[in-house]
Amino acid sequence: MHRFWSIFIARNKEYYRDHASFGWNIMFPFLIIFGFALIFQNGGQRPYKVAILTSQTIHPAIQMQVCSHDLFSCIHIADKEMAIDKLNHHQLDMVLENVAHPFKYWINSSSPKGILSESLLTRKAISNHELNQRLIKQTIDSKPVHYIEWLFPGIISMGMMFSSLFGIGFTIVRYRQNGVLKRLKATPLTSFEYLCAQILSRLLMILLTNIILYTGCSWLLGFQCRGSVFHLLIFFSIGTISVISVGLIVAARTKTEELAHGLLNIITWPMMFLSEVWFSIEDAPMWIKRFALCLPLSHVTRGLRHIMNDGAHLFDLSTELFYLSILTVVFLSIGSLLFKWTQ
């Protein structure tokens, strides 16, 4: 145990004395908080961007029907050619002329958002009148989950993924390259003790930065965690260890930082897209959904959302915890078996 503590303490000191790296890791959450605050200060972005072709006052009908609508964001553009070009490049969803009747509008027919904007504008979203007559709107009994509350667990799991994979991967590869690992091999220190010290040191740093991020965002954006913060912390820690163990596999034998960078990118991109941080994969082929189950980040994101958005207890997350535990054991075993002290 004394050997583990020795390396754990040394790594932590290394970390906080490297002011550039430490500063960036502390600054990073604040930048995210600032970015979020900027984006969501008015209750979040309106999804459809409409360019109003005018340099003068907007027509009252357009003002009332379009610009005051919760889903339309109006942008004034005087140059029609420029507006059409932006529409063509999916930078705008619709272009609307601000002149007397009839109001001409343009959409990009290959853009789903353009088509939806048109439907909203012309109220043609559901044109089947028979169905229209049979529809009765119902409301959700529970408190609706705001977009920021849905997004936040994904953002912190994504930040955790980058910090876990690159933090642990690069550190070990650099130590192998410059001979620190070789020197440690000539001591009674075992690879298990060394790797445990690295994992816990990185976990400590990730927890610290994410506690700052959570507190700052919660204070600035006013969202709340519906479950227990303690459970959130426990689940997040388990998830972090699981993702770090993926980094260990990459770091186990990699000889150069360049190769490590490439391998880590190969891992991070699929994890980011398939873990539903940004969008759902409900309609993806079954094999993709199955593959996503092998990625720890999918379970981390889902579990965090259950706790934060649905108020789930740790017991309710037995499936996620089961997958994460299995994946951690598998990745750690592979990483430890493959681990080499020297090049």
Binding site: R3, A10, K13, N178, G179, K182, T187, P188
Partner: protein, 313 residues
């Protein structure tokens, strides 16, 4: 400090190392070719050889860093086990340390990896690190770093210490300072295995040496004995312009004398066992002897004689 296997003079008597038929292949290249030797406790044992001779591979196999292709290593007459790493100290040719730790913290970090520890203050004093103990590793000089690495190698009061080219790249002052520290460690009865490219260093510090070339041992013994055995006589040095072609021919024709130019081509080196006769010959031919020097053979002469003068890569 802890004493294991202490004799009447309070000197450690453990640290006996036996290397038997050591072989190491890297692919098809044989780096170590059936090497065997014994290192008695309490001596400084030198492992010498040109670049690529297999010294570092041999030492790293003994340290447990590299696995041998075949062969056996016994420590105190038993195969090495995990306790071996508790009892050895290692200073590699070139390694980095945790860049942002101070010198003192680095020693502490390594000390905590062992059950057996020495006094930190004592270690800092022995290795003359008092003035830089609170400096970060990334800010210390090459000589200071080598002293720190030596301190780390001594952190567990080892019985057997491996020093792999500890003075390479150091200025003469730092080198001599390190020799003093190594001599002091030797006085405590520790067994030291030293590799070096500096023959002067080996001659001063080593009680016994082996010279390795192309993975094989080509000479083994006490340095002075080896020099006497393999390079008899003295070396007379004169500026080459003082010795005419006629005199050179005379020297060549004499069976007791051989000559060659030194590496700079400025001096002629005459190797002879009959110094008086040689000087008489030079005086007879009115050679200017005002800048003459005479010296015995040294380890470098022996080394070059055995391994040749061709450049190694």
């Amino acid at each position: 400090m802890r004493n294991s296997g202490v004799n009447q003079n309070n000197i450690s008597t453990t640290g006996h190392l036996t290397v038997k038929n050591l072989v190491k292949y890297y692919g098809k290249i044989c780096a170590v070719n059936n090497i065997s030797f014994n290192i008695a406790p309490g001596i400084c044992f030198g492992l010498l050889g040109p670049n690529g001779a297999g010294k570092t591979t041999t030492i790293e196999i003994i340290e447990g860093i590299t696995h041998p292709t075949s062969g056996e290593i016994l420590y105190n007459d038993a195969p090495r086990d995990r306790s071996f790493w508790e009892r050895i100290g290692v200073q590699f040719q070139s390694t980095e340390l945790f860049a942002f730790l101070t010198v003192r913290e680095s020693i502490q970090t390594f000390m905590r990896l062992y059950r057996n520890q020495v006094s930190l203050e004592q270690l800092i004093r022995i290795c003359s690190l008092e003035d830089i103990q609170h400096q970060e590793n990334r800010k210390i000089s090459g000589g200071q770093k080598q002293r720190l690495m030596l301190a780390i190698a001594l952190a567990n009061n080892p019985d057997l210490i491996f020093l792999d080219e500890p003075t390479t790249g150091l200025d003469p002052q730092s080198r001599r300072h390190l020799w003093e520290i190594v001599s002091a460690i030797k006085q405590k009865g520790k067994t030291i295995v030293l590799t070096t490219h500096y023959m002067e260093e080996a001659q001063i510090l080593c009680d016994e040496i082996i010279i390795v070339d192309k993975g094989k041992i080509i000479a083994q013994g006490v340095p002075e004995d080896l020099i006497t055995r393999k390079c008899a006589g003295q070396i007379i040095r004169l500026p080459q312009e003082n010795v005419s072609q006629d005199v050179r021919q005379l020297l060549s024709s004499n069976q007791d004398m051989t000559w060659h130019l030194d590496a700079t081509n400025k001096f002629i080196l005459i190797q002879t066992q009959t110094v008086n006769e040689c000087i008489a010959l030079l005086m007879h031919h009115q050679v200017d002897l005002s800048r003459l020097t005479i010296r015995p053979h040294n380890l470098e002469d022996l080394f070059l004689q055995l391994t040749g003068k061709a450049l190694r890569h």
